[in-house]
Amino acid sequence: MDRPMTTHFISAEVDLHDTAEELHSAIEIELQKHGEPLRWAVTDVDVDRQKAVVEGYVLVEASPAKA
């Protein structure tokens, strides 16, 4: 909490999965590449390409400064 934090907006495409639960996990994994997911949603699905279009935002905590 003493370290600076920033919030970032992320837009991504995630492969559709067989179940919604698997899609949920895949989205979280994708967003975690950018930070801690705070809020996200699938905004559309490209049915032909079987891709979910996802928008979300993540929290990024700055690394401790090196001495």
Partner: protein, 355 residues
């Protein structure tokens, strides 16, 4: 034998331009109606908050969006309370007169509603909220100093032992913008809503405590063409009373290991139905709940949003209805143990499974 209680989740996602519930607490009538035929209604601040206006619904649980996502995923349970001790965070970026307006709103809630609001903290830096609209048309925003927000919350929790937190952040006055003009006409997307969700999500995620947000804004000039859907935000100086009323009885958020010791806590496996705009099925809570066979997802067609995430596109099994009136009929049928299909003119033939 006690019948199984009917537990319903009502979601109208924030900041996606929902034609019902995308403005000033204008899904509250829907919540009131659904609560009448539910034993427990679980819904969130965007549905219940009408700035100066709110309605106490005894069987409704006021659950912030991040907590609702965790609840739906089975990570957190909801523990009803009699009353929460509430703390207030004021953004240091709010002008002194506007701060005073909010402190007076808190005093009014203490004196007139009997709420237990005990302590107030000013953030150590301005939160610096900025507003954005995404490619999909949803509103969102960034906070320049999220660490300052979290330090203020930590102080309230550790020093004042508060059980719920109301945050008031200074939002940019957007006067003259097309987005605000549309919003006041009951059209388009609430430009503030996405950033509000970032603020409350940050606090709930970090401290697992009920939290809700009210923006601090300068009063707007009188508009004779104001939409009824937006009017609740223009009848006072702050948006805070509904937040304080909601947090006063918001359920505590409990981890699974603690739920076993408390039979009153509500968990995702008790949910019977979730009501959602048909184009906004792509959120975390719906994807989680759709994996539970006992949950009936009811997708409402005439609550339009900027999203395009329908149940069919996502492969989610849902019952599509046109309106909330129809959704309420489905819930009545479900409660009575009647298949909704048997209330229509055409009843399909029995399906014969192949060997």
């Amino acid at each position: 034998v006690n019948p199984r209680p009917l537990t319903v989740v009502l979601i109208v996602p924030t900041g996606v331009g929902a034609s019902i519930g995308g403005f000033a607490g204008d899904a509250l009538p829907v919540a009131r109606a659904i609560a009448q035929i539910s034993d427990t209604l679980i819904t969130h601040p965007n549905v219940l908050n009408g700035a100066q206006l709110y309605w106490p619904i005894p069987n409704a649980l006021y659950v912030e969006g991040y907590a609702l996502d965790k609840f739906a995923a089975g990570c957190w349970g909801l523990q009803p309370v009699h009353q929460n001790r509430i703390g207030l965070i004021l953004d240091a970026g709010i002008e002194p007169d506007l701060q005073l307006r909010h402190l007076q709103a808190v005093d009014a809630a203490r004196a007139t509603l009997g709420l237990n609001i005990t302590d107030c903290v000013l953030t150590d830096r301005p939160l610096q909220v900025e507003l954005r609209i995404s490619e999909s048309g949803a509103s969102w925003g960034t906070i320049g100093n999220p660490d300052s927000l979290l330090r203020a919350a930590e102080k309230l929790i550790k020093q004042a032992r508060v059980e719920a937190i109301a945050v008031v952040a200074r939002f940019p006055d957007d006067e003259g913008s097309l987005a605000l003009e549309n919003y006041r006409r009951g059209k388009g997307v609430d430009p503030l809503a996405g950033a509000e969700a970032v603020i409350s999500h940050l606090v709930v995620r970090t401290f697992k405590i009920p939290c809700a947000h009210a923006p601090a804004l300068s009063a707007l000039p009188l508009d004779p063409h104001l939409s009824p859907r937006s009017a609740a935000e223009e009848i006072g100086y702050t948006f805070l009373p509904c937040v304080l009323a909601g947090l006063g009885k918001a359920p505590q958020l409990v981890a699974p290991e603690n739920q076993q010791h408390n039979q009153l806590s509500i968990t995702a496996d008790q949910v019977d139905a979730v009501v959602i705009p048909a184009t906004a099925c792509g959120g975390s809570a719906i994807l989680s709940l759709s994996g539970r066979s006992s949950v009936q997802i009811i997708a409402v067609g005439d609550n339009k949003t900027q999203m395009q995430a329908t149940p069919e596109k996502l492969g989610i099994k849902a019952l599509q209805v046109n309106s909330y009136l129809e959704a309420i009929g489905v819930l009545v049928a479900k409660r009575a143990g009647i298949s909704p299909a048997s209330l229509g003119a055409d009843i399909s033939s029995l399906r014969r499974l192949s060997d």
